[in-house]
Amino acid sequence: MSNGIPLAEARARYSPDADIGPLPDLADTDTLLNAYHPDHLRGSLVNLVVGANAGDSCQRELAELLQAEAFIDEADLAGTPVSDVDVLVIGGGGAGCAAALMAAEKGARVLLATKLRLGDSNTVMAEGGIQAAIEAGDSIQQHIQDTLRGGHHAGDPALVAAMAGDGPDVLRWLIRLGMQFEQTSGGDLHTRRAGGMSTARLTHCRDYTGLEMMRVLREAVIQHRSIEVWEQSPVVELLSNEHGQKCVGAVLTSLLDDRLRIVRTRSVILATGGLGRLHLNGFPTSNHLGATGDGLVLAYRLGARLREMDSFQYHPTGLLHPSHLAGKLVTEGVRAAGALLVNGVGRRFVDELLPRDMVCAAILRECAEGRGIRVDERHVGVWLDTPRLERAQPGLLEKQFPNLMSRTRVSCVDPRYTPLLVHPTLHYQNGGVVIDTNGATTVPGLYAVGEVAGGIHGRNRIMGNALLEIISFGRRAGIAATANRDRGPKKVTLEHVNRMRRALTLAGMPMSRRAPQVLPPYAAGGVWSR
């Protein structure tokens, strides 16, 4: 792309008190989304051919993984050491920890296996906050409505009602575990209004909400007597009963020595998070290293239904520059606090607090139509006008966004004086595994919670609902999974893998690709020799 205003020129032209013009009227939002949102890019969608969602539309790169061959076959199982537990939780982010804590509290012996270090997750990176309807002018009902509207009415109202209804109690539970929140001088929890909310509902711990949540959950899990934790232990396949109909365990490998292990259990809770590191449609991502969509692949192969596999959230304000932070997020909290978006010709072009998909599409439109700021051919963005915010509310950035300040400090950029160059970044998986209000999937014995699950955010998530969802449904699934007191598996098999292989062969699909991905190619050096 050769259009756009060169960075140096845009920098020279920029001034924090220039007139940036009135807010232009937004043309029809559907037209904007259809023309510019990455979900609508030509060639980015295909129809799935095999599995529970055969015929449904799915993002192309994800479809390749969902319809790929497994890494594990029967020969691998012979002689592999076996552990037995009541509940296996896969994934050490917020959802997995909440599920493990609840299952343990209900008396289960829990094993939590996670790909990287416990707490390496999207959860720890969340900045902005967590929603809960606690202000006097707010209600659970309003929270439900905002969530459904934000998701373009594609969400499941029962799931949304469960999550919103849990909100206040989720905060109580987190505080009890030792999580701190920002307070007003009167001692109330401080709330903000962010994109897509009808009123202030976002509670937060400065701009380290996820870090504060994660370090508390991590400590609680590590300290818990009935939870065992295996780190650097990605799950590479699930196990089914002899009919391939029920989930009865998992096969894990180790990133340290590649050794396989089998875990046999009554219930498996998938909490593997999102898929930003698949870099769909070539986008940079805000996600942590382990976000490679493994849970979707594992669940789909075992027969679970998925939903909205063609809908992803691209966060409007990913950093474009400096390069080592490319794709990293500037929290929406900064826009909620009043920062505006300004294009290369010094004009405001969109209401910054519209739902994320629209703001994202509007930024991509500016870039495509030559009003972006060009770093080089491949990198064009717009300004996030933080100096103007600093002028209007001196000290605010330092006080409320220490995370942003310390991240940019390492690279000698000071957002109080220099506007940040931003571009949309692949941020969140809107859909996921179909679940009920207990987090149960369509496969018995298999639960899915957190970002890997779908149905709450419809086709667009509003800020602060992901952190709420992971605790709300993590707790629900932890309880439900423990209530399953059958005698446990008689036999653990790979019947579902065989079934998928037959279906792929029948459909004439290529079998060269294997999945789950586990690590992005650029980080997989030396790992996965098989």
């Binding site: 270090r117 390496d120 505080i175 491949r378």
Partner: protein, 217 residues
């Protein structure tokens, strides 16, 4: 991962070693990017790449100076030697927050759980180790004096890398002292009226209707 940019900043090409292997990189790259690009195998103690998850712990030698830090916050430079550290071992101090019944005896409980905290020898080892510039030693002193709210505030930006734990000759586990301080401050003292009022409203509504939610404890 792209690195070269025509943004007016000059990135130079440099040679360094990571985990004992020679690597060439340029100065705009972090050590995580340099390790991956240089084909250093098994660099998987990496998480967020923006300095909040505390995973990518390294030991770093620049000339005669040896320090610890986070690889994603350290840029490639000529001649440096970096080694990714193994994961931290399991914590040695145990407590469950639900075991604390009230706040009046919390200081005695703290001393039972972290008996070493009062034996700090003020060696500053933890301060030197901390990649976040936290005044760790001071935070430990605050906790040892029962000032948990202040101690917790001192540790506000802690990313749980546990490098201070490794540095401490008295095995105080400052990272966990900090987290303990933060947790009990919330656990005992955070009682926000707006949240409490809403919880009370919801409780009344629920007891008014006959629906019993499945997650009611």
């Amino acid at each position: 991962m792209h690195s070269a940019e025509n943004d007016g900043e000059q990135h130079q090409s440099v040679k360094l070693t990571i985990n004992g292997l020679p690597v060439s990189a340029d100065t705009g790259m972090t050590l995580v990017e340099a390790a991956w690009q240089g084909g250093v195998p098994r660099v998987t103690s990496v998480g967020c790449m923006e300095g909040v998850c505390g995973s990518c712990r390294i030991m770093l030698r620049r000339g005669k100076q040896v320090t610890v830090g986070l690889a994603c916050q350290t840029f490639a430079a000529e001649g440096i030697e970096a080694v990714f550290l193994p994961p931290a071992s399991a914590p040695q101090h145990h407590y469950e927050i639900d075991d604390f019944k009230d706040g009046w005896d919390i200081h005695a409980r703290f001393q039972d759980i972290f008996p070493e905290a009062s034996r700090c020898r003020h060696c500053h080892g933890c301060d030197y180790a901390c990649p976040k510039g936290i005044k760790v030693e001071n935070g430990v002193a605050q906790a040892a004096a029962g000032r948990y709210r202040d101690a917790g505030e001192t540790f506000f930006e802690c990313v749980m890398c546990e490098l201070c734990d490794v540095a401490c000759p008295e095995l105080i586990a400052p990272a966990h002292v900090g987290l303990f301080s933060r947790r009990i401050t919330a656990h005992f003292h955070l009682r926000p009226p707006n949240l409490i009022n809403r919880l009370e409203e919801l409780r009344k509504e629920r007891s008014g209707s006959s629906i019993i939610e499945s997650d009611e404890e």
